[in-house]
Protein backbone atom coordinates (compact mmCIF):
# COMPACT_ATOMS: atom_id res chain seq x y z
CA UNK A 1 0.00 0.00 0.00
CA UNK A 2 1.23 3.50 -0.84
CA UNK A 3 -0.24 6.94 -0.30
CA UNK A 4 -1.26 7.25 -3.97
CA UNK A 5 -3.63 4.30 -3.41
CA UNK A 6 -6.02 6.41 -1.35
CA UNK A 7 -7.69 9.83 -1.33
CA UNK A 8 -7.94 12.40 1.40
CA UNK A 9 -11.68 13.12 1.50
CA UNK A 10 -11.66 15.44 4.53
CA UNK A 11 -8.92 16.78 6.82
CA UNK A 12 -9.08 13.63 8.95
CA UNK A 13 -10.43 10.93 6.63
CA UNK A 14 -8.65 8.92 3.94
CA UNK A 15 -10.52 6.59 1.60
CA UNK A 16 -9.25 3.55 -0.28
CA UNK A 17 -11.71 3.23 -3.19
CA UNK A 18 -13.62 0.03 -3.85
CA UNK A 19 -11.78 -0.29 -7.17
CA UNK A 20 -8.45 -0.70 -5.37
CA UNK A 21 -8.92 -4.46 -5.28
CA UNK A 22 -11.50 -6.51 -7.18
CA UNK A 23 -12.59 -8.47 -4.10
CA UNK A 24 -13.58 -5.34 -2.14
CA UNK A 25 -17.36 -5.05 -1.63
CA UNK A 26 -17.21 -1.53 -0.18
CA UNK A 27 -14.57 1.22 0.08
CA UNK A 28 -12.28 1.34 3.13
CA UNK A 29 -11.78 4.47 5.19
CA UNK A 30 -9.39 5.39 7.95
CA UNK A 31 -9.19 8.36 10.27
CA UNK A 32 -5.79 10.04 10.47
CA UNK A 33 -3.84 13.25 10.07
CA UNK A 34 -0.84 13.23 7.75
CA UNK A 35 1.58 11.96 10.36
CA UNK A 36 -0.69 9.12 11.50
CA UNK A 37 -1.41 8.27 7.86
CA UNK A 38 2.33 7.90 7.27
CA UNK A 39 2.64 5.79 10.42
CA UNK A 40 -0.12 3.51 9.08
CA UNK A 41 1.96 2.89 5.95
CA UNK A 42 4.72 1.48 8.18
CA UNK A 43 3.15 -1.97 8.56
CA UNK A 44 0.49 -4.13 6.89
CA UNK A 45 -2.50 -2.62 8.72
CA UNK A 46 -4.00 -0.93 5.64
CA UNK A 47 -3.85 -4.17 3.65
CA UNK A 48 -5.63 -5.81 6.57
CA UNK A 49 -8.24 -3.04 6.46
CA UNK A 50 -8.81 -3.69 2.74
CA UNK A 51 -9.23 -7.40 3.54
CA UNK A 52 -12.10 -6.58 5.90
CA UNK A 53 -13.87 -4.73 3.08
CA UNK A 54 -14.33 -8.14 1.38
CA UNK A 55 -16.49 -9.68 4.12
CA UNK A 56 -19.94 -10.84 2.93
CA UNK A 57 -22.70 -8.44 3.96
CA UNK A 58 -20.33 -5.58 4.84
CA UNK A 59 -22.19 -2.27 4.85
CA UNK A 60 -21.15 1.20 3.63
CA UNK A 61 -17.38 1.03 4.30
CA UNK A 62 -14.78 -0.82 6.32
CA UNK A 63 -13.38 1.60 8.86
CA UNK A 64 -10.26 2.09 10.92
CA UNK A 65 -9.57 4.49 13.72
CA UNK A 66 -6.42 6.69 13.98
CA UNK A 67 -4.78 4.26 16.42
CA UNK A 68 -4.79 1.63 13.62
CA UNK A 69 -1.91 -0.84 13.55
CA UNK A 70 -1.21 -4.31 12.30
CA UNK A 71 -3.06 -7.14 14.00
CA UNK A 72 -4.00 -10.61 12.76
CA UNK A 73 -6.99 -10.73 10.39
CA UNK A 74 -8.61 -7.39 11.17
CA UNK A 75 -6.31 -4.44 11.78
CA UNK A 76 -6.38 -3.23 15.37
CA UNK A 77 -8.60 -0.16 15.28
CA UNK A 78 -10.98 -1.77 12.77
CA UNK A 79 -14.76 -1.28 12.68
CA UNK A 80 -16.80 -3.40 10.27
CA UNK A 81 -20.58 -3.63 10.20
CA UNK A 82 -22.46 -6.40 8.39
CA UNK A 83 -26.19 -6.40 7.64
CA UNK A 84 -28.49 -8.89 9.34
CA UNK A 85 -29.77 -11.51 8.83
CA UNK A 86 -27.21 -12.99 6.44
CA UNK A 87 -24.21 -10.74 6.96
CA UNK A 88 -21.33 -12.55 8.60
CA UNK A 89 -19.87 -12.64 12.06
CA UNK A 90 -16.13 -13.25 12.32
CA UNK A 91 -14.61 -14.61 15.56
CA UNK A 92 -11.15 -13.45 14.43
CA UNK A 93 -12.70 -10.02 13.81
CA UNK A 94 -13.57 -9.79 17.49
CA UNK A 95 -10.21 -11.21 18.49
CA UNK A 96 -8.99 -13.62 21.13
CA UNK A 97 -9.40 -11.23 24.04
CA UNK A 98 -13.18 -10.95 23.79
CA UNK A 99 -14.46 -7.84 25.60
CA UNK A 100 -11.05 -6.55 26.39
CA UNK A 101 -12.01 -3.15 27.71
CA UNK A 102 -11.46 -0.27 30.08
CA UNK A 103 -13.14 0.75 33.31
CA UNK A 104 -12.72 4.16 34.90
CA UNK A 105 -13.21 4.53 38.65
CA UNK A 106 -13.16 7.86 40.45
CA UNK A 107 -12.53 8.99 44.02
CA UNK A 108 -13.30 12.06 46.11
CA UNK A 109 -9.58 12.51 46.70
CA UNK A 110 -7.49 15.39 45.49
CA UNK A 111 -3.96 14.46 44.45
CA UNK A 112 -2.41 16.48 47.30
CA UNK A 113 -4.42 14.61 49.90
CA UNK A 114 -3.54 11.19 48.43
CA UNK A 115 0.11 11.90 47.52
CA UNK A 116 1.71 10.41 50.67
CA UNK A 117 -0.11 7.11 50.16
CA UNK A 118 0.19 6.55 46.40
CA UNK A 119 3.14 4.15 46.67
CA UNK A 120 1.30 2.10 49.31
CA UNK A 121 -1.85 2.11 47.18
CA UNK A 122 0.06 0.82 44.13
CA UNK A 123 1.61 -1.93 46.27
CA UNK A 124 -1.72 -2.94 47.82
CA UNK A 125 -3.39 -3.09 44.40
CA UNK A 126 -0.53 -5.23 43.08
CA UNK A 127 -0.97 -7.67 45.96
CA UNK A 128 -4.78 -7.79 45.77
CA UNK A 129 -5.07 -7.99 41.97
CA UNK A 130 -3.06 -11.02 40.77
CA UNK A 131 -1.29 -10.48 37.45
CA UNK A 132 1.07 -12.30 35.13
CA UNK A 133 0.83 -15.36 32.89
CA UNK A 134 -1.65 -17.99 34.01
CA UNK A 135 -1.87 -16.56 37.53
CA UNK A 136 -5.06 -17.59 39.25
CA UNK A 137 -7.14 -15.39 41.50
CA UNK A 138 -8.65 -15.81 44.94
CA UNK A 139 -11.99 -17.00 43.55
CA UNK A 140 -12.16 -20.65 42.51
CA UNK A 141 -15.40 -21.56 40.80
CA UNK A 142 -17.14 -24.87 40.28
CA UNK A 143 -18.22 -25.48 36.72
CA UNK A 144 -21.85 -24.87 37.67
CA UNK A 145 -20.99 -21.55 39.26
CA UNK A 146 -18.87 -20.51 36.27
CA UNK A 147 -21.80 -21.32 33.97
CA UNK A 148 -24.02 -19.07 36.07
CA UNK A 149 -21.41 -16.32 36.12
CA UNK A 150 -21.01 -16.21 32.34
CA UNK A 151 -24.75 -16.26 31.70
CA UNK A 152 -25.64 -13.67 34.33
CA UNK A 153 -22.60 -11.38 34.03
CA UNK A 154 -22.89 -8.29 36.23
CA UNK A 155 -25.98 -9.67 37.99
CA UNK A 156 -23.84 -12.54 39.32
CA UNK A 157 -21.34 -10.03 40.69
CA UNK A 158 -24.15 -8.03 42.30
CA UNK A 159 -25.58 -11.13 44.03
CA UNK A 160 -22.14 -12.10 45.31
CA UNK A 161 -21.44 -8.66 46.74
CA UNK A 162 -18.75 -7.62 44.26
CA UNK A 163 -20.82 -4.91 42.56
CA UNK A 164 -23.23 -2.08 43.32
CA UNK A 165 -26.32 -1.20 41.29
CA UNK A 166 -24.53 1.98 40.20
CA UNK A 167 -21.52 -0.01 38.94
CA UNK A 168 -23.78 -2.03 36.66
CA UNK A 169 -25.83 0.93 35.45
CA UNK A 170 -22.54 2.54 34.42
CA UNK A 171 -21.25 -0.47 32.48
CA UNK A 172 -21.81 -1.06 28.76
CA UNK A 173 -24.87 -3.36 28.48
CA UNK A 174 -25.22 -3.16 32.29
CA UNK A 175 -22.43 -5.72 32.46
CA UNK A 176 -24.59 -8.45 30.97
CA UNK A 177 -25.11 -9.42 27.35
CA UNK A 178 -28.45 -11.20 27.02
CA UNK A 179 -28.29 -14.54 25.23
CA UNK A 180 -25.00 -15.81 26.62
CA UNK A 181 -25.07 -19.61 26.62
CA UNK A 182 -22.52 -21.61 28.65
CA UNK A 183 -23.44 -24.79 26.75
CA UNK A 184 -21.81 -23.27 23.65
CA UNK A 185 -18.48 -22.98 25.48
CA UNK A 186 -15.92 -25.82 25.49
CA UNK A 187 -14.72 -27.62 28.61
CA UNK A 188 -11.23 -26.39 27.87
CA UNK A 189 -12.33 -22.74 27.90
CA UNK A 190 -14.06 -23.34 31.23
CA UNK A 191 -10.95 -24.98 32.63
CA UNK A 192 -8.81 -22.01 31.56
CA UNK A 193 -11.27 -19.53 33.04
CA UNK A 194 -12.22 -21.24 36.28
CA UNK A 195 -9.61 -19.56 38.50
CA UNK A 196 -8.99 -16.42 36.43
CA UNK A 197 -11.82 -14.18 37.64
CA UNK A 198 -10.34 -11.11 39.31
CA UNK A 199 -6.95 -11.38 37.60
CA UNK A 200 -5.24 -8.90 35.34
CA UNK A 201 -3.16 -11.13 33.05
CA UNK A 202 -0.06 -9.99 31.19
CA UNK A 203 0.77 -8.16 27.95
CA UNK A 204 -0.64 -4.65 27.64
CA UNK A 205 -3.11 -5.05 30.51
CA UNK A 206 -2.74 -2.79 33.52
CA UNK A 207 -4.28 -0.94 36.40
CA UNK A 208 -3.31 2.71 36.55
CA UNK A 209 -3.78 5.41 39.18
CA UNK A 210 -4.21 8.77 37.43
CA UNK A 211 -4.75 12.43 38.17
CA UNK A 212 -7.31 14.46 36.22
CA UNK A 213 -4.92 16.85 34.49
CA UNK A 214 -7.26 19.04 32.47
CA UNK A 215 -10.99 19.38 31.83
CA UNK A 216 -12.21 20.23 28.32
CA UNK A 217 -15.97 19.90 28.78
CA UNK A 218 -17.21 21.19 32.15
CA UNK A 219 -20.76 19.88 31.80
CA UNK A 220 -19.81 16.34 30.81
CA UNK A 221 -16.97 16.20 33.36
CA UNK A 222 -19.15 17.31 36.24
CA UNK A 223 -21.85 14.81 35.22
CA UNK A 224 -19.19 12.08 35.53
CA UNK A 225 -17.99 13.60 38.81
CA UNK A 226 -14.57 14.52 37.41
CA UNK A 227 -12.61 17.58 38.66
CA UNK A 228 -9.02 18.84 38.16
CA UNK A 229 -6.45 17.22 40.46
CA UNK A 230 -8.75 14.28 41.24
CA UNK A 231 -7.41 10.76 41.78
CA UNK A 232 -9.02 8.25 39.38
CA UNK A 233 -8.22 4.64 38.47
CA UNK A 234 -8.26 2.80 35.13
CA UNK A 235 -8.51 -0.96 34.66
CA UNK A 236 -7.56 -2.43 31.27
CA UNK A 237 -8.13 -6.17 30.81
CA UNK A 238 -10.48 -8.71 29.28
CA UNK A 239 -11.82 -12.26 29.36
CA UNK A 240 -8.46 -13.98 30.00
CA UNK A 241 -7.99 -17.64 28.98
CA UNK A 242 -11.75 -18.17 28.88
CA UNK A 243 -12.21 -15.74 25.98
CA UNK A 244 -8.96 -16.73 24.26
CA UNK A 245 -10.08 -20.37 24.12
CA UNK A 246 -13.59 -19.52 22.84
CA UNK A 247 -12.08 -17.59 19.96
CA UNK A 248 -9.60 -20.39 19.24
CA UNK A 249 -12.41 -22.98 19.25
CA UNK A 250 -14.69 -21.02 16.91
CA UNK A 251 -11.99 -19.89 14.49
CA UNK A 252 -11.21 -23.60 14.09
CA UNK A 253 -14.85 -24.67 13.78
CA UNK A 254 -15.58 -21.94 11.21
CA UNK A 255 -12.60 -23.11 9.07
CA UNK A 256 -14.47 -26.37 8.50
CA UNK A 257 -17.76 -24.83 7.38
CA UNK A 258 -16.75 -21.74 5.42
CA UNK A 259 -17.03 -23.60 2.10
CA UNK A 260 -20.57 -24.63 2.95
CA UNK A 261 -21.55 -20.96 2.76
CA UNK A 262 -19.57 -20.29 -0.43
CA UNK A 263 -17.33 -17.73 1.27
CA UNK A 264 -13.80 -17.09 0.03
CA UNK A 265 -11.47 -14.80 1.96
CA UNK A 266 -8.02 -13.28 1.49
CA UNK A 267 -6.87 -14.39 4.98
CA UNK A 268 -7.93 -17.49 6.92
CA UNK A 269 -8.03 -15.55 10.21
CA UNK A 270 -11.00 -13.58 8.82
CA UNK A 271 -13.00 -16.80 8.73
CA UNK A 272 -16.69 -16.09 9.22
CA UNK A 273 -20.19 -17.48 8.85
CA UNK A 274 -23.60 -15.89 8.32
CA UNK A 275 -25.05 -14.67 11.60
CA UNK A 276 -28.21 -16.59 10.80
CA UNK A 277 -26.29 -19.89 10.49
CA UNK A 278 -26.05 -22.41 13.37
CA UNK A 279 -22.31 -21.71 13.62
CA UNK A 280 -22.87 -17.94 13.68
CA UNK A 281 -25.54 -18.24 16.37
CA UNK A 282 -23.41 -20.58 18.48
CA UNK A 283 -20.42 -18.25 18.30
CA UNK A 284 -22.56 -15.24 19.22
CA UNK A 285 -23.86 -17.05 22.33
CA UNK A 286 -20.34 -18.15 23.33
CA UNK A 287 -18.87 -14.70 22.62
CA UNK A 288 -21.52 -13.19 24.90
CA UNK A 289 -20.48 -15.62 27.64
CA UNK A 290 -16.88 -14.42 27.27
CA UNK A 291 -18.05 -10.79 27.28
CA UNK A 292 -19.90 -11.39 30.54
CA UNK A 293 -16.81 -13.10 31.97
CA UNK A 294 -14.78 -9.97 31.16
CA UNK A 295 -17.36 -7.61 32.69
CA UNK A 296 -17.28 -9.69 35.89
CA UNK A 297 -13.48 -9.83 35.78
CA UNK A 298 -13.22 -6.03 35.73
CA UNK A 299 -15.95 -5.88 38.39
CA UNK A 300 -14.07 -8.20 40.77
CA UNK A 301 -10.87 -6.22 40.15
CA UNK A 302 -12.89 -3.13 41.10
CA UNK A 303 -13.83 -4.88 44.33
CA UNK A 304 -10.13 -5.63 45.00
CA UNK A 305 -9.21 -1.99 44.28
CA UNK A 306 -11.85 -0.82 46.76
CA UNK A 307 -10.36 -3.19 49.34
CA UNK A 308 -6.93 -1.76 48.62
CA UNK A 309 -8.16 1.81 49.15
CA UNK A 310 -9.82 0.70 52.40
CA UNK A 311 -6.64 -1.04 53.61
CA UNK A 312 -4.36 1.90 52.87
CA UNK A 313 -6.54 4.96 53.45
CA UNK A 314 -9.10 4.11 56.14
CA UNK A 315 -8.67 6.61 58.97
CA UNK A 316 -6.12 8.62 57.01
CA UNK A 317 -8.33 10.57 54.60
CA UNK A 318 -11.85 11.92 54.90
CA UNK A 319 -13.40 9.81 52.16
CA UNK A 320 -11.75 6.87 50.39
CA UNK A 321 -14.89 5.79 48.54
CA UNK A 322 -14.27 4.56 44.96
CA UNK A 323 -17.14 4.85 42.48
CA UNK A 324 -17.57 3.91 38.87
CA UNK A 325 -17.56 6.40 35.99
CA UNK A 326 -18.04 3.90 33.15
CA UNK A 327 -16.89 0.58 31.66
CA UNK A 328 -16.49 -0.02 27.94
CA UNK A 329 -15.55 -2.92 25.66
CA UNK A 330 -13.12 -2.47 22.78
CA UNK A 331 -13.05 -6.01 21.30
CA UNK A 332 -16.60 -7.07 20.57
CA UNK A 333 -19.30 -7.73 18.00
CA UNK A 334 -22.66 -6.16 18.86
CA UNK A 335 -26.08 -6.33 17.26
CA UNK A 336 -27.16 -2.70 16.89
CA UNK A 337 -29.54 -0.58 14.86
CA UNK A 338 -27.97 2.20 12.77
CA UNK A 339 -29.26 4.53 10.09
CA UNK A 340 -27.58 3.79 6.78
CA UNK A 341 -28.35 6.15 3.89
CA UNK A 342 -31.60 7.20 5.54
CA UNK A 343 -32.73 3.64 6.30
CA UNK A 344 -32.70 1.96 9.72
CA UNK A 345 -30.80 -1.32 9.57
CA UNK A 346 -29.91 -4.01 12.05
CA UNK A 347 -26.19 -4.61 11.91
CA UNK A 348 -23.51 -6.74 13.48
CA UNK A 349 -20.85 -4.17 14.37
CA UNK A 350 -17.38 -5.67 14.87
CA UNK A 351 -15.08 -3.44 16.89
CA UNK A 352 -11.55 -4.79 17.02
CA UNK A 353 -9.58 -2.33 19.08
CA UNK A 354 -12.30 0.29 18.76
CA UNK A 355 -14.77 1.65 21.31
CA UNK A 356 -18.51 2.05 21.13
CA UNK A 357 -19.21 5.79 21.25
CA UNK A 358 -22.98 6.33 21.25
CA UNK A 359 -24.06 9.95 20.98
CA UNK A 360 -26.47 11.93 23.17
CA UNK A 361 -30.03 10.62 23.36
CA UNK A 362 -29.23 6.92 23.21
CA UNK A 363 -31.62 5.03 25.47
CA UNK A 364 -28.98 2.42 26.38
CA UNK A 365 -27.14 5.05 28.44
CA UNK A 366 -27.86 5.64 32.14
CA UNK A 367 -30.08 8.72 32.64
CA UNK A 368 -27.22 10.88 33.97
CA UNK A 369 -25.24 10.42 30.74
CA UNK A 370 -28.11 10.48 28.25
CA UNK A 371 -27.76 14.13 27.28
CA UNK A 372 -23.94 14.24 27.20
CA UNK A 373 -23.32 11.05 25.21
CA UNK A 374 -21.64 7.81 26.20
CA UNK A 375 -18.36 8.12 28.13
CA UNK A 376 -15.45 6.75 26.06
CA UNK A 377 -12.26 5.69 27.85
CA UNK A 378 -9.01 5.83 25.90
CA UNK A 379 -5.90 4.74 27.75
CA UNK A 380 -2.59 6.02 26.42
CA UNK A 381 0.66 4.12 26.51
CA UNK A 382 2.27 3.47 29.88
CA UNK A 383 3.51 6.64 31.53
CA UNK A 384 1.66 8.94 29.12
CA UNK A 385 -1.75 10.62 29.18
CA UNK A 386 -5.13 8.91 28.88
CA UNK A 387 -8.42 10.48 27.83
CA UNK A 388 -12.08 10.57 28.72
CA UNK A 389 -14.27 11.42 25.72
CA UNK A 390 -17.96 11.25 24.91
CA UNK A 391 -19.73 9.87 21.85
CA UNK A 392 -21.34 12.36 19.47
CA UNK A 393 -23.93 12.72 16.72
CA UNK A 394 -20.89 12.50 14.43
CA UNK A 395 -19.91 9.04 15.62
CA UNK A 396 -23.49 7.88 15.03
CA UNK A 397 -23.53 9.35 11.51
CA UNK A 398 -20.01 8.42 10.40
CA UNK A 399 -18.60 5.42 12.25
CA UNK A 400 -21.45 3.13 13.40
CA UNK A 401 -21.23 4.79 16.82
CA UNK A 402 -17.53 4.01 17.23
CA UNK A 403 -14.25 5.74 17.98
CA UNK A 404 -10.62 4.99 18.87
CA UNK A 405 -9.44 2.78 21.77
CA UNK A 406 -5.86 3.75 22.58
CA UNK A 407 -2.60 5.17 21.32
CA UNK A 408 -1.80 2.33 18.91
CA UNK A 409 1.57 0.66 18.56
CA UNK A 410 4.19 1.72 16.03
CA UNK A 411 7.09 -0.46 17.12
CA UNK A 412 7.22 -4.24 17.42
CA UNK A 413 7.58 -5.80 20.84
CA UNK A 414 10.89 -7.29 19.78
CA UNK A 415 12.33 -3.92 18.75
CA UNK A 416 10.96 -2.24 21.88
CA UNK A 417 12.71 -4.85 24.01
CA UNK A 418 15.97 -4.28 22.13
CA UNK A 419 15.66 -0.50 22.38
CA UNK A 420 14.54 -0.17 25.98
CA UNK A 421 15.64 -1.90 29.18
CA UNK A 422 12.77 -2.58 31.56
CA UNK A 423 14.73 -1.57 34.66
CA UNK A 424 15.86 1.74 33.08
CA UNK A 425 12.33 2.48 31.98
CA UNK A 426 11.09 1.80 35.47
CA UNK A 427 13.69 4.23 36.88
CA UNK A 428 12.69 6.85 34.35
CA UNK A 429 9.00 6.51 35.19
CA UNK A 430 9.76 6.61 38.92
CA UNK A 431 11.81 9.80 38.39
CA UNK A 432 8.73 11.32 36.74
CA UNK A 433 6.80 10.59 39.93
CA UNK A 434 5.05 7.45 38.70
CA UNK A 435 4.96 4.48 41.08
CA UNK A 436 5.65 1.35 39.01
CA UNK A 437 4.72 -2.15 40.18
CA UNK A 438 5.57 -4.63 37.43
CA UNK A 439 5.92 -8.39 37.52
CA UNK A 440 8.19 -8.63 34.50
CA UNK A 441 10.87 -6.18 33.37
CA UNK A 442 10.82 -7.64 29.83
CA UNK A 443 7.06 -7.13 29.75
CA UNK A 444 7.54 -3.57 30.90
CA UNK A 445 10.04 -2.90 28.08
CA UNK A 446 7.65 -4.28 25.43
CA UNK A 447 5.06 -1.74 26.56
CA UNK A 448 7.48 1.23 26.59
CA UNK A 449 5.88 4.52 25.48
CA UNK A 450 8.38 4.74 22.59
CA UNK A 451 6.61 1.74 21.01
CA UNK A 452 3.33 3.68 20.74
CA UNK A 453 1.90 6.62 18.85
CA UNK A 454 1.22 9.89 20.63
CA UNK A 455 -2.24 9.43 22.18
CA UNK A 456 -2.88 13.19 22.19
CA UNK A 457 -2.52 13.21 18.39
CA UNK A 458 -4.95 10.29 18.07
CA UNK A 459 -7.45 12.22 20.22
CA UNK A 460 -7.03 15.37 18.11
CA UNK A 461 -8.08 13.33 15.07
CA UNK A 462 -11.23 11.78 16.58
CA UNK A 463 -12.19 15.12 18.15
CA UNK A 464 -11.46 17.03 14.94
CA UNK A 465 -13.35 14.51 12.83
CA UNK A 466 -16.30 14.72 15.22
CA UNK A 467 -16.48 11.01 16.12
CA UNK A 468 -15.90 11.81 19.83
CA UNK A 469 -15.47 14.92 21.96
CA UNK A 470 -12.79 15.63 24.57
CA UNK A 471 -13.91 15.71 28.19
CA UNK A 472 -10.81 15.22 30.34
CA UNK A 473 -7.14 14.34 30.11
CA UNK A 474 -5.57 12.07 32.72
CA UNK A 475 -1.90 11.67 33.67
CA UNK A 476 -0.52 8.65 35.55
CA UNK A 477 0.95 8.50 39.06
CA UNK A 478 0.87 4.73 39.54
CA UNK A 479 1.13 1.77 37.14
CA UNK A 480 0.45 -1.86 38.10
CA UNK A 481 1.28 -4.51 35.47
CA UNK A 482 1.79 -8.23 35.11
Amino acid sequence: MKSSDFNRISPYIYEIPKEFRPDMRVPARFYADRQLMEAALGDKCLDQLVNTATLPGVVKYALAMPDIHQGYGFPIGGVVATALPDGVISPGGVGYDINCGVRLLATHLHHEEAAPWLGDLASAIQVNCPSGVGRGGSIKLSQKELDKLVEEGGQWALKKGYATEMDLARTEENGRLEGADASKVSERAKKRGRDQIGTLGAGNHFIEIDIVDEIFDETAASRMGLFPGQIVIQIHCGSRGFGHQICTDYVRRFQQVIHKYGITLPDRELVCAPLSSPEGQDYLAAMKAAANFAFVNRQVLTHHIRRSFEQVLAGKVKNHHVYQVYDIAHNMAKIEEHEIDGRKMRLCVHRKGATRAFGPGSDVLPPEYRDIGQPVLVPGSMGTASWVLVGTEGSMAQSFGSTCHGAGRTMSRRRAKKTVHGSELRQQLESEGIHVRAGSMAGLAEEAPIAYKDVDRVIEVVHGAGIARKVARLVPVGVIKG
Binding site: D43, C45, H69, Q70, G71, Y72, G73, I76, G92, G95, Y96, D97, G132, V133, G134, R188, K191, R192, G201, A202, G203, G241, H244, Q245, C247, T248, V251, R252, Q255, Q256, D267, R268, E269, V271, R409, T410, M411, S412, R413, R414, R415, S440, A442, G443
Partner: protein, 135 residues
Protein backbone atom coordinates in the same frame (compact mmCIF):
# COMPACT_ATOMS: atom_id res chain seq x y z
CA UNK B 1 20.49 -26.07 13.94
CA UNK B 2 17.42 -23.97 14.64
CA UNK B 3 15.16 -23.67 11.64
CA UNK B 4 12.97 -20.97 13.04
CA UNK B 5 13.27 -17.23 13.18
CA UNK B 6 11.34 -14.63 15.20
CA UNK B 7 9.98 -11.88 12.90
CA UNK B 8 8.96 -8.30 13.64
CA UNK B 9 5.23 -7.75 14.05
CA UNK B 10 3.77 -4.50 15.38
CA UNK B 11 1.42 -5.86 18.03
CA UNK B 12 2.16 -9.55 18.34
CA UNK B 13 4.89 -12.13 17.74
CA UNK B 14 5.57 -13.97 14.52
CA UNK B 15 7.73 -16.96 13.75
CA UNK B 16 9.03 -18.22 10.40
CA UNK B 17 9.64 -21.95 10.46
CA UNK B 18 11.28 -24.36 7.99
CA UNK B 19 11.41 -28.13 7.82
CA UNK B 20 12.45 -30.76 5.31
CA UNK B 21 9.05 -32.35 5.79
CA UNK B 22 5.87 -31.78 7.79
CA UNK B 23 7.15 -33.63 10.86
CA UNK B 24 10.25 -31.44 11.03
CA UNK B 25 8.23 -28.29 10.39
CA UNK B 26 5.96 -29.18 13.32
CA UNK B 27 8.96 -29.93 15.53
CA UNK B 28 10.69 -26.67 14.65
CA UNK B 29 7.50 -24.70 15.19
CA UNK B 30 7.18 -26.24 18.67
CA UNK B 31 10.81 -25.43 19.49
CA UNK B 32 10.39 -21.89 18.16
CA UNK B 33 7.27 -21.22 20.18
CA UNK B 34 8.72 -22.81 23.32
CA UNK B 35 11.82 -20.63 22.98
CA UNK B 36 9.56 -17.56 23.27
CA UNK B 37 8.22 -18.81 26.60
CA UNK B 38 11.47 -18.99 28.57
CA UNK B 39 14.82 -17.17 28.39
CA UNK B 40 16.81 -20.41 27.84
CA UNK B 41 14.95 -23.43 26.49
CA UNK B 42 17.98 -25.72 26.94
CA UNK B 43 17.87 -25.06 30.70
CA UNK B 44 14.45 -26.73 31.04
CA UNK B 45 15.06 -30.20 32.45
CA UNK B 46 12.90 -32.88 30.84
CA UNK B 47 11.14 -34.26 33.89
CA UNK B 48 7.67 -34.59 32.41
CA UNK B 49 6.51 -36.69 29.46
CA UNK B 50 3.20 -36.22 27.68
CA UNK B 51 1.60 -37.96 24.73
CA UNK B 52 -0.41 -35.98 22.21
CA UNK B 53 -2.67 -37.32 19.45
CA UNK B 54 -4.30 -34.87 17.08
CA UNK B 55 -6.63 -35.07 14.11
CA UNK B 56 -7.26 -32.09 11.89
CA UNK B 57 -8.81 -31.43 8.49
CA UNK B 58 -5.74 -29.87 6.87
CA UNK B 59 -2.05 -29.35 7.55
CA UNK B 60 -2.39 -25.70 8.62
CA UNK B 61 -5.05 -26.62 11.17
CA UNK B 62 -2.85 -29.46 12.41
CA UNK B 63 -0.04 -26.91 12.93
CA UNK B 64 -2.35 -24.50 14.80
CA UNK B 65 -3.83 -27.33 16.93
CA UNK B 66 -0.36 -28.65 17.79
CA UNK B 67 0.95 -25.28 18.97
CA UNK B 68 -2.35 -24.48 20.72
CA UNK B 69 -1.92 -27.68 22.71
CA UNK B 70 1.53 -26.59 23.88
CA UNK B 71 0.35 -23.05 24.69
CA UNK B 72 -2.49 -24.55 26.74
CA UNK B 73 -0.07 -26.72 28.77
CA UNK B 74 2.11 -23.67 29.36
CA UNK B 75 -0.79 -21.52 30.59
CA UNK B 76 -2.55 -24.10 32.74
CA UNK B 77 0.41 -26.10 34.11
CA UNK B 78 3.47 -23.86 33.53
CA UNK B 79 4.92 -26.70 31.44
CA UNK B 80 7.45 -25.93 28.72
CA UNK B 81 8.71 -28.66 26.40
CA UNK B 82 12.02 -28.97 24.55
CA UNK B 83 12.00 -32.53 23.20
CA UNK B 84 9.49 -33.54 20.57
CA UNK B 85 9.23 -36.99 19.04
CA UNK B 86 6.66 -37.02 16.28
CA UNK B 87 5.34 -40.17 14.67
CA UNK B 88 2.57 -41.05 12.22
CA UNK B 89 2.58 -37.52 10.83
CA UNK B 90 0.21 -36.88 7.92
CA UNK B 91 -1.40 -33.56 6.92
CA UNK B 92 -4.39 -34.53 9.08
CA UNK B 93 -2.88 -36.50 11.96
CA UNK B 94 0.02 -36.65 14.37
CA UNK B 95 1.15 -38.64 17.39
CA UNK B 96 3.78 -37.10 19.60
CA UNK B 97 5.73 -37.82 22.73
CA UNK B 98 6.95 -34.59 24.27
CA UNK B 99 9.32 -34.00 27.17
CA UNK B 100 9.87 -30.93 29.24
CA UNK B 101 9.34 -29.52 32.67
CA UNK B 102 7.59 -27.06 34.90
CA UNK B 103 9.15 -23.60 34.88
CA UNK B 104 8.94 -21.05 37.72
CA UNK B 105 7.83 -18.28 35.40
CA UNK B 106 6.80 -17.82 31.77
CA UNK B 107 8.34 -14.76 30.13
CA UNK B 108 5.60 -14.55 27.55
CA UNK B 109 1.92 -15.32 27.50
CA UNK B 110 0.70 -16.75 24.23
CA UNK B 111 -3.03 -16.08 24.20
CA UNK B 112 -3.57 -17.91 20.94
CA UNK B 113 -2.06 -19.28 17.74
CA UNK B 114 -3.67 -17.50 14.79
CA UNK B 115 -4.42 -18.45 11.16
CA UNK B 116 -3.32 -15.00 10.02
CA UNK B 117 -1.84 -15.40 6.50
CA UNK B 118 -1.04 -18.97 7.48
CA UNK B 119 -0.02 -21.21 4.63
CA UNK B 120 2.43 -24.09 4.55
CA UNK B 121 4.36 -23.54 1.34
CA UNK B 122 6.81 -25.72 -0.57
CA UNK B 123 10.34 -24.36 -0.91
CA UNK B 124 13.53 -25.79 -2.47
CA UNK B 125 14.45 -27.18 0.93
CA UNK B 126 11.10 -28.54 2.00
CA UNK B 127 8.30 -26.65 3.75
CA UNK B 128 7.94 -23.19 5.26
CA UNK B 129 5.26 -21.43 7.32
CA UNK B 130 4.93 -18.10 9.10
CA UNK B 131 2.90 -18.24 12.30
CA UNK B 132 1.51 -15.19 14.12
CA UNK B 133 0.77 -15.50 17.84
CA UNK B 134 -1.62 -13.30 19.75
CA UNK B 135 0.25 -12.15 22.85
Amino acid sequence: MAKFEVLDHTADWALRVNGRNLAELLEQAALGMSSLLVPDLTAVSPTTTRHIHLDAFDAETLLVDWLTELAYLAETEQLVFNQFQLTNVTPTHLDATIRGGRVPELQKHIKAVTYHDLQIIHTDNGLEATIVFDV
